[in-house]
Symmetry: C2
Subunit: 227 residues, 2 copies
Amino acid sequence: MSLSGWQAVQDEVLRRIHARDWPPGSAIPNEADLAREFGVARATVNRALQALAEAGLLDRKRKAGTRVALHPVRKATLSIPILRHEIEARGLAYGYRLLTRTHATAPVAVQAALGLTGPLLHLTSLHLAADRPYAHEDRWINTDAVPDILTVDLAVLNANQWLVAHAPFTRGDFVLTALNAGPEAGPLGIAAGAALMVLERTTWDGAVPITWVRLAFAPGHRMHMVL
Amino acid sequence: MSLSGWQAVQDEVLRRIHARDWPPGSAIPNEADLAREFGVARATVNRALQALAEAGLLDRKRKAGTRVALHPVRKATLSIPILRHEIEARGLAYGYRLLTRTHATAPVAVQAALGLTGPLLHLTSLHLAADRPYAHEDRWINTDAVPDILTVDLAVLNANQWLVAHAPFTRGDFVLTALNAGPEAGPLGIAAGAALMVLERTTWDGAVPITWVRLAFAPGHRMHMVL
DNA sequence: CAGGTTATTATGTCTGCACATAATAATACT
DNA sequence: AGTATTATTATGTGCAGACATAATAACCTG
């Protein structure tokens, strides 16, 4: 067989995995052999197999060789767009309303997530889609890390947008969970107790914690992923 | 400067992006120039930049060159392990209980997701962690695609485990949402109305729909992701 | 000057070769 | 027999050179 392009190699390997020519757990031929069989260079086979390994379909180990993953750990990638873009992508007008802005000591959960104990800048705000509440945001900001944010009029400018533009982060950490609506119920204009999808995110710049955010989406919010 | 290894190149590029040497939206030098500057082959620079592009930090276009992404679409990867492994990884005993097994016509939402109208195999079951309800599963299976599943005793063997082992899928589709507990409340042993994290997944083998699952996790479930 | 053609350029990828590295197998030594 | 050392092997990665391809810029031409 003569293939051309590492994508073609990848497709053929996928086909064989799928057709059970190479059942889960079994070892597949080494790169050199495959290169010969497919009529390509070893580097080309390597590219294809590495991509599949990264996708979790193959397990590769030096010397041990390559084998079809027994329990393919499927990785869904959830792209986290800026809310404004997410909303505008649906053809809706985006709106933002700052609800509160204070300096205060954060709840212990937030303190623990950030690894800080001092008082932080605390914002609560509302993201609107076509004038209807879309998500409620509860944010704590480490002003030591981004002192410039104190000079910004956050009533006009979305804190998240300012941060992505001025304080790039190197590390992030997400938790998705579901909660019965508590204090967010009012601003979101919903009944208390409604099930809300909640996203909690902590971001760092290196070792320096920047911000902790909790987004509570309006009921019915669906987060979509593909794999 | 002389670097060695594509990872080192990647790190240096990351550093420059982060240090605002190359601010968002700006074009960075071409591969040949970077290769010369770093004292590596162009292929090495290419490897590094491609990885960063895949991660969403760079936008690359032929001829146009490479520029720092204006709105780095952060991609969180959520690894979807088999529930059994997820539970056992926490050091808890895994349990499985089949609740119902029927053939029936699926709700329109399921019919739409799968693109099928005929009657399907319908299973509801419970996943247990240390004998406590962990998640409620509501599954519809296209028996035309996997007729062998009819020969399996699903009271003993987890349908999901059987499927991953015998019916590899090529495409999947996730939706995460939050719902107030309805019929799941009973089996999960919780109060009706509690906020549940719900994961709906549809899987295909090529163009053939295989199964639709809805997992409702016990209250307090946290789905963790890193980016 | 508009519209189409051609050149240029940066990335995408392949090849063949080389050496590095990790894991295993084989061997030697006590 | 048990342990330490040394091959062997498959993947990981690097290099230089080449051509492919897409997007843009420069150039004609009517």
